[in-house]
Subunit: 308 residues, 2 copies
């Protein structure tokens, strides 16, 4: 079973009936698996994660988007999170056995279909057609409220669909990206500056590892010690690894551990937030076991999936 | 999807038609996946690996065994590997979401069915009913050629089926065990005694880690260097981890690395032979990332399997 993931974000985080009805367009697809729905009342926004064979995921994404556009009216939408439309952004993510080029192809197919349905479409990240449209914040600048004006600017002619503002639906950003690994390393220290300094060294924009975003943050964790649940204050290097095939967890973990030890500080622990592809674990085993040939094909569960 | 594995060994390693015909009893089960067939001409023996929901695997194992018993005649069998019958041993192995007690129950169901079909059955390992029958070599002692005499000994009354020697089929050993992880660590050294010394320290019978068998061996590996494919001689600590939930790879890897470094020797690399359950990787991530809460539930591929 080849696996493509779709992680659409919609501007509805409060009405469970609407959310369920939109989700139903995915669950009724027999070959697509809806893994997660995460709704936020304050953001008035929901993020869906579903996965399956590329063609099936594309079909589900189209049905999902059309249903969301039918049920959501942006004229009534207020929320803290930046957004451009009822279906704000639809990224496709290659998980297993799918090349990025195919994910881009699927994104463009969906974009064309939605464009024909009258929605202005912008392609972003790996599916971007213009260099100024790679980054989501650039496309989303001005938000829904500024979209009418933006669409009048020839610079912002949509990649698909009409350059016409639809007050009910706004616009949709469609694209393809690598899986994002949200990964945090906790340091046995209360020194926020140390966490910030290490974050600077590890992140790409300040000369660190490619495809790594990082920041130093303070966090409090309940200690499990017998001393009675005292709060243990720690600092954390919080990261997004945006292409684990280039920079995977072991590289940043080992680097952070070494940097912290230079200041006499140990790693308390680390954590992965959310879901990861099995290939992330493959990379961990290859590195720590000095076993570069290790393959997920040696994992029974992966072998079973190949029958599906 | 809960996963039980079955790894039957049969006394036929030469006739591809017979092997395919016996394998067909597994592949025709829609809910069981045949992952591997490994046949050895010299041993005149084949090992099958198949996996699926416990009840489906039990049904497939029964059909498989009856077909093998029909097609194999032990009176014509010569091979280097010790064996007791046409279907020599049928171990059930819990892989995911299955407790050992359930695997034992499945083994006993199969044993009863085969007993009724007239095959003397001995239960071994976790399914053993007598302490002297836990280990396969003890049961197999005397082999097929000594089975007639063995069955006349009240001490060796079968656990199921008649205490009657069937010259065509011999007897079958049925049981349940944990997944076996065949794991080797290569040392940058030609000192076989060092590998043997470390193997002694790591293996359980000499005071090492529980559920670890180990030996030191010499191996030759083609070096991938630019110097022209010169042979690089190394020594290896070769292990079987018979319960990775008690002693997983990181424990033995880190121990061997530390012991070797005491002699100024580095680890060259390591390797896993054959298939492993995903939970083995879970243990690797938990240890090396200092992330004890890490769960395979965070792996997309595992989440998909749960729909199947």
């Amino acid at each position: 079973m080849r696996l493509l993931e779709c992680v659409p974000n919609i501007s509805e985080g409060r009405d469970p009936d609407k959310i369920a009805s939109i989700a139903g367009e995915v669950t009724k697809h027999k070959k697509v698996r809806l893994l997660n729905i995460s709704s936020d009342r304050d953001h008035h926004r929901s993020v869906f994660t579903f996965v399956g064979e590329p063609e099936a995921v594309k079909e589900a994404a189209l049905a999902f988007t059309l249903k969301a556009i039918e049920l959501i009216d942006m004229r009534e939408h207020k929320g803290e999170h930046p957004r451009l439309g009822a279906v704000d952004v639809v990224p496709f993510v290659p998980i297993h056995g799918v090349e990025m080029a195919e994910a881009v192809g699927i994104a463009r197919e969906l974009g064309k279909d939605l464009g024909k349905a009258g929605i202005p479409i912008f392609y972003y990240e790996e599916a971007a057609l213009k260099s100024g449209r790679r980054e989501l914040p650039a496309i989303r600048k001005g938000e829904y409220e500024g979209l009418n004006e933006k669409l009048e600017d020839p610079e912002w002619k949509p990649d698909e669909g009409p350059a016409v503002f639809s007050p009910k639906s706004g616009a949709t950003v469609v694209g393809a990206r690598f899986p994002l690994v949200a990964y945090n390393v906790n340091l046995k220290s209360q020194d926020l500056n140390l966490a910030k300094e290490i974050a600077r060294k590890v992140r790409f924009k300040d000369g660190g590892f490619p495809h790594v975003r990082a920041m130093g943050v303070e966090l409090s964790a309940k200690s499990g010690s017998a001393s009675g649940g005292k709060e243990k204050r720690l600092v954390q290097v919080s990261m997004n690894l945006t292409n684990y095939q280039v920079t995977n967890i072991p590289k940043v973990y080992d680097f952070i551990e070494t940097e912290a030890l230079k200041h006499g500080v140990e790693v308390d622990g680390s954590e992965i937030v959310g879901l990861i592809p099995l290939a992330v674990l493959e990379g961990i085993a290859r590195h720590y076991l000095k076993y570069p040939q290790f393959s997920t094909e040696q994992v029974i569960e992966q072998r079973i999936l190949e029958f599906e």
